[in-house]
Symmetry: D2
Subunit: 338 residues, 4 copies
């Protein structure tokens, strides 16, 4: 039996709490949130034992083995450091931080304290993307030549969120950077980002873009191209295609049902699942199960701090490329492992 606490009961903190509460071999003991009053009714409905606005109660609780950091990004680094010092295993949502330096500092403490750290790249646990990864790893696609990732949100976030998000690359494309690395199995050597503001004028105000096409060149030669939009009116659009010397594998959006309706006017099928909570419902369960499995068997998590670092590094390179309107070849330390 693993005992856990969750810091931050926003949308994603709640998802993890609800998933954990259905597991027989994990005990969710405490959840903390700054606005504890607004969380109490939900938490009681879930049967969560302790609710607090003091995250320290979690970190200093000797019964608790692991902590999920689901609070806002600027709190991640101090919380990771404090949790590591308290000897807790850590699951942290992406990104680790808004700067490479902060991320490096956090990872240093994790390494020193020898706690496990898993980063919240939930898409690796989606059955479709897992299958793509398997088919590539098993060699059925051959050498990877081109990876194409489409990743479009159904609607832009509120202006306040955009302003503190760190920009589209670190906030949204970061998932795609991780996916590209995960599939290709090599590190990115060059990034070229093209972007535009088509949807949300707030992006323009804060120097961000809402539409982007990013080309990645990998050390093993593979080229990946990612297209992002903050607003696909038809729903969450999440697809991957991998083209290689022996073939091509692609995955489409998941649909709520397979229904096809033919009438005099049209032939219609379902729209994609609306957003990440629907599309990645199963992936969130698997993600957190995988974290507990790593703890139980003392294994390296499937998504490491290095994975978080690399995806952030690509995001910063993309940002630099967009500003310079030029490909960017290198950015800080190539890896924290070497």
């Amino acid at each position: 039996m693993i005992t856990v606490g969750i810091i931050g009961a926003g949308r994603i903190g709640k998802v993890h709490a609800e998933n954990i509460s259905k597991m027989r071999d994990v005990r969710l003991k405490t959840i903390s949130d700054l606005y504890v009053e607004s969380v109490v009714p939900w938490a009681e409905g879930q049967g969560i034992e302790n609710i607090t606005n003091q995250y320290q109660e979690i970190l200093h609780d000797e019964e608790i083995d692991a902590v999920l950091i689901c609070s806002s990004t600027q709190t991640h680094v101090p919380l990771i450091q404090e949790a590591a010092l308290c000897g807790k295993h850590i699951f942290c949502e992406k990104p680790i931080s808004f700067t490479i330096e902060d991320t490096m500092e956090a990872l240093d403490v994790v390494k020193e304290k020898e706690v496990l750290l898993q980063i919240g790249f939930n898409r690796r646990f989606d059955p479709n993307f897992k299958r793509v990864h398997e088919l590539v790893r098993s060699g059925q696609v051959g050498d990877v030549h081109i990876v194409k990732i489409t990743s479009r949100d159904p609607a832009p976030p509120p202006a306040e969120y955009i302003k503190t998000s760190g920009g589209i690359f670190i906030d949204m494309s970061i998932h795609d950077f991780d996916m590209a690395r995960y599939i290709v199995g090599s590190e990115v050597e060059e990034v070229y980002a093209q972007g535009a503001v088509f949807i949300d004028p707030v992006c323009k105000e804060v120097g961000d873009v809402d539409t982007a096409v990013i080309t990645l060149k990998f050390k093993n030669g593979a080229i990946a191209v990612i297209d992002n939009s903050r607003k696909a009116v038809y729903g969450y659009d999440q697809r991957v295609e991998v083209f290689g010397s022996k073939g091509c594998v692609s995955v489409e959006n998941d649909l709520p049902t397979t229904a096809k309706l033919l009438t005099e006017e049209s032939v219609a099928t379902d729209k994609p699942k609306y957003f990440f909570l629907e599309r990645y419902k199963e992936a969130y369960v698997e993600e957190i199960r995988s974290f507990f499995h790593a703890i139980k068997y003392n294994e390296t998590p499937l998504v490491t701090g290095e994975d978080g670092y690399q995806a952030e590094r690509i995001a910063h390179m993309a940002k630099a490329s967009l500003r310079a309107n030029s490909p960017v070849q290198c950015y800080k330390k190539k890896s924290l492992l070497t």
Copy 2:
């Protein structure tokens, strides 16, 4: 909080137990099975409070509100009667019995004792079939002219099962008879069944068939045609198509992933989910939630005893048609409601 007991811890009893154990507002108190020893390790892993080989412990437990009858078919009628007499609400797997008379007797007691009874036609809770039902009910298909149901198992059951199954119509096609009625919203007036033994010689020995095509004529004029096979080598094949005056709706098999692999040799996609446990995983959860919802709000269950009766009636008509090699127009009482 509803407290329940389960009689029978075979494959389907376990599915229900595991689903209930994840619900916060239902308490699974006791599970009974004749072979209790073999069930103990699983039950303990699930945290089930009481395990017994005496189903009476469930029926006579005043804390228990409802019972799930998941034991073999020949036990259904006496258990339904006994449970109803004990004032328990009842969920019973299909079929209620092997004869119309037995089924009528069981339903009489249920009616008299005014307990709720839901029959285990799980497919009504599958998202695909629910969508078909909704589209038909909303009038988007217009008047229903033709319903086509494909229902093929991946592999025949063991010889021992075949021998005591009551035959393909009451054991397997019964789900399709219910689906046809559910979609059409009218009662069957005529049945014609054509069948053959292609797969399993045991069927021939016991006068059963393993392949069947059944035509149903409904009171409202609609025609349904069902094709069944005990062995589709590519997996569980479960599809429905409804054709009407305003259009046509169809649903396909659910696939594990949307992956498409193109190579020099072929273009390949996933096979259908293997069998009912995979395909109807979500439907089983919804089915049992729906039962508890009916209890909580004292509503008529979505699948009633009358629904069980009608599907069995069609099954017996199909059997008679196959023997006579002729359409069969009527069979016993048209309804227990009138």
Copy 3:
């Protein structure tokens, strides 16, 4: 160089004429039609040499090797007989006649005069159905257990046509009967037809139906089920599925394009090609090429008079079954070949 004449310049006669006029090795010399004036502008546009209202000009023209009979059904038998007596090879649209006796008489003369006769079952030349046939013949589906054919027209023909059509089975389902035989490779031993009038009240007046579900039992055990409608509001619906011991092959409707449009309201694809002229455009070319190939190399046509006879025999059995509301086991001579 083969020289041909066409009798009847209605819709289908024109299709054949236009296809032949693009072939370099076939000369379309004469076309006859009762209403020759209305045909002249079209015929001149096609560069057809002779246009006449006397079909005898074709049959007695020594230059002409082969004749295409595209006139109305009641003229088929005398024209076949006269053409055979004149030593012409014959392509005749379906059905040969409205009665088995007339068809037998026509085929007797053809046999005696040793001319080639091909019947217009154009669907055998459709790439999709050809592929199904190939996959079944190559053994990839194993022994055939169940064949499902969906065949629905986009709109009912005019009342006048319905009245003289011979009924849905001989007019429309006959194509499906031929397809079922072609795929299964065995003869039909029993027919059960269920039907209704849902669409066109004229059908009721003349004792016909506009919706039908027909079950065929073949000598080799296979069961086929065909569903027909005179009106599918979404277009021409032509699909086949073959289920066997080793697998299942299915073909869908051809679409004009592969376009998929996702908007806020819906995900829409193309409707099926509207009707037979669009769907079977390529098949009509292949059909007539196949006929000329058989003449050139003195081979048995791909669709013989016996094929015409068998499909008509099934149609008459279906009609008898519908009237008797009972399966019909036999009807006249089982084959003209034996």
Copy 4:
């Protein structure tokens, strides 16, 4: 009646000749080829009147209204100039030339002599891409944000061809550059090309690549991304997706049939049509019909010399970008029209 001659009886010249020979209102009078002996048997089979190794016979034949230039690229410019001087309308295969200067010179003469010129961007006439274009033009996709074009050949051409091809951008991607312009309806302002040699070492020798990902920035803000490969082992891969403010339209590869085969091992569908002759068979007919239509009604061809110029300009920008490893913003005259 339009009378035409064809210069060059290679693969594509033959395609045009065979298509024209089926048209009733166009007369193919003469075809010229350097290696006339090897062409004679084919030409006779097609019933072509004159065959010659002197292309001047075509240009100086007063009966001939239009000429199709299907010879190798380095001959295009002098032939266009000579044909224009002879007052012939011109259809010329892509590219017009290997250099912007040569292309400009050719177009100058065409302009001066006021003959019609159509460039062989056949894909604009493919039903799928036409539909995409229509849906974008009709506003159903809204403002175009992102265009994605996949264009992969089934196998690399011979080494000799590669060496004289002018490189992948001018030889292969040029079709995609035209398609992107055609869909977006704006001009390209910036090009970034990323490329690699994965398949054919000959490419490396001659400074070419066999795999490329190209990002185009349009004047109206739209971003297009094209991925090319000389070798897709599964066949010719030709897809387009357009994402905009109101939705997304995509087209897939055309398949020979819709057959789906489910077996114990796999679920398999057809591979894409093998290469351009199969995939664009219908498009080639429409392309040349469109050219004759423009001549007959004295209309601007659907693909103009300016279209040829712009696509070549993008190709040269791509080549420059690849060499510089940097986006390229401008290249020569922005348009020949202004």
